[in-house]
Amino acid sequence: MRLLSFPSLAILSLLWISAVRADHHVETVLDGLNNPCGVAIQPETGDVFVADSAAGKVVRVKDGKASDVIVEFPLGSYGKGPKFAIGPLGLLFLDKNTLVVGGGGAADGEELLSVFTIGDAGADAKKADAAEQTFKLEGKDELKGEGNFYALTRTETHVYVTCNGDDTKGWVARAAIKDGNRLENYERYLATKEATEVDAPVGIATSPDDASSKFIVVGQMGEINQEGDSLLTFYSEDKKMLLNLETGLNDITALAYSTKARGSRKQLYALDFSWLDTKQGGIFRLVDDGKGGVQAKKIAGLDKPTAMAFGADGVLYVTVIGTKEEGAEKEAGKLLKIAADSVDGEVAE
């Protein structure tokens, strides 16, 4: 645990101490998804895009209905029991018509970060091999090939990607944004496991626009068979670790700052998959505990949550894998929506 004084105070001030309570309201937007693992909001239209991962496709969700946007991503699996089929993972828009997709179905070193130009609603679906750009992080010398590009986030100049190839390093990779809608120089950037000595960067976010300094915040998932070991780690853009906090959460899968300020600040939220006991999983607001640490306040219990994105209106969209009932034909994955005023609440403990 590293605690650094100056940046800590500035960052912790972004973790609002909240006593506000409200009834949370979780609404199902779309069900029948197959291990959805990524979600992004399209600029200008506000349409929600979901990585329907085990179906090997990215879909647009409009008026509660899904339409294929990109199909035929390769499939792989994650976990040892339970095992989950996965294909496309993290999603991120560079602009209205440019979507970046992190792959999860190929072998480490062969995995692709792909940039697609997408059409308007109603356009024919593209195939996964029709990307405008693709990038790999291949193994070389002592560097292992990278894969499972879980989550994507961006600043004005770069896209950041959490990876799960080299388990000795725990890389966050990044690519520079070129001309607003293209990427270049995709490279290993932050060795988070070396820095924190805890496994696997998964969730990632960048500083909100109301922050006094720029930073990248990574959710270090920890061991999936160990409870309470997820970390929240802040880095400066020059790779310096600013703050490393225990969260008490089991397995952070996503981080996001709210798009609307609540109180005086935009808030940081985390999803906890909680492999060991999925009943403990859910969405949590991460608040300053007043003692230099962080406290996770539960907003709602969720069944294997994987990704989240805030709309410009403050509405939060979350994907969950869910639990398929025995004999059910429909897959259990869902896209959920939590109203802006509900995101501010918390579950009574």
Partner: protein, 346 residues
């Protein structure tokens, strides 16, 4: 009458003074390379408590037939393990797993035992060692001592009863036994090894072979996927295949977590002082580190839950030799906690 009251006051005051003295905080000296240790809020370290815990740790009277102590299986002379594949308890009963080293056990704050069944009582309580301490005492194969027998037995030993009074303000209790033993175990530390000094900037601290081995460890051999951090463990549970080649495989962590992926998974042990704590693996099947390295080089033993970090490494003979040098030379501290048994109370 007055003299009796004064005498009683003096006795009570002396007891109170002794108790206050026994509460003096103990400052744990953390060696180079290890982090600050997280302690349970309800069990602060004191010198008197550690001393009491040390006596209990080495005392065979904690077993049903006065033949086995904690130190019998976690012996400072044998890397705080016992030098044999399996631990032997009372009546020469042999257990099914090797005795893990106590070295740096204080960093196992969330769960202990090979399968992690002794867990902290709530998040961030950091009291897994307290949860563990009474387990072997009661285990019928290890010390076979019921607590309802142990506690009166300890209270009949005046030296113990007085110490429990001074430390905890009560006669001996099961809670006190656990807290005292856990406190002593937190002082069994190994750091400031050549690796730590090398990492801190002393480039002569490791031989050339050990430096090469260090590079293999953290890269090509993938060891640091699990053996990471100051204590060289992720404190997680991994299936490397050991035991899956047996007719009745030890279920390992799955017995606790109920997650299929934890089948035959066991806790990652520290590698500190690894040269002293042979034999290796939870079933003690390997006598030498050379055998261990060869096992990992082959990618473990294939089975449905084999950890994804296990795969054929294709290490050269030089890589293997250097890796063993690093493990032996780099992680052995000149300040090894060579603790001697204390004088036990009567």
């Amino acid at each position: 009458m007055f003299r009796n009251i004064v005498a009683m006051w003096i006795v009570l005051n002396a007891a109170q003074t002794a108790r206050i003295h026994a509460q003096d905080a103990y400052e744990l000296k953390i060696p180079l390379g290890l982090k600050a240790m997280k302690l349970p809020a309800d069990n602060p370290l004191t010198a008197a408590k550690i001393s009491l815990g040390k006596q209990l740790y080495f005392d065979k009277r904690l077993s049903i037939d006065n033949t086995v102590s904690c130190a019998s299986c976690h012996d400072p002379q044998k890397g705080w393990s016992n030098g044999t594949p399996f631990a032997t308890g009372v009546r020469n009963q042999v257990g099914g797993r090797s005795a893990p080293s106590i070295i740096n056990a204080g960093y196992q704050t969330r769960a202990t035992f090979w399968d992690g069944r002794a867990a902290q009582t709530k998040r961030r309580s950091n009291n897994a060692l307290e949860a563990q301490a009474l387990g072997p005492i009661q285990n019928p194969i290890e010390m076979d001592m019921k607590l309802e027998t142990l506690i009166p037995k300890l209270n009949k030993i005046e030296g113990y009863r007085k110490q429990f009074q001074a430390v905890f303000g009560t006669d001996a209790t099961a809670d006190g036994v656990a807290k005292a033993i856990a406190s002593f175990e937190r002082t069994v530390l190994s750091g400031n090894a050549p690796y730590d000094r090398y990492k801190a900037g002393d480039k002569d601290a490791l031989s050339e072979a050990a430096q090469r081995g260090r590079r293999v460890f953290f890269n090509k051999a993938n060891c640091s996927a699990c053996h990471i951090g100051g204590n060289f463990t992720d404190n997680g549970y991994h299936n490397i295949g050991i035991g899956t080649d047996q007719d009745k495989p030890d279920p390992g962590r799955v017995a606790v977590s109920k997650l299929e992926g934890d089948t035959a998974a066991f806790k990652t042990p520290t590698l500190r002082e690894i040269a002293r704590s042979a034999p290796y693996m939870h079933d003690g099947r390997f006598k030498t580190l050379e055998e261990v390295v060869n096992f990992y080089d082959k990618g473990g033993i294939k089975n449905p839950q084999l950890d994804e970090e296990l795969y054929p490494l294709k290490l050269s003979d030089q890589d293997k030799a250097d890796l063993v040098v690093f493990l032996k030379e780099g992680l052995s501290s000149p300040e090894y906690p060579d603790t001697k048994p204390p004088k036990l109370p009567e």
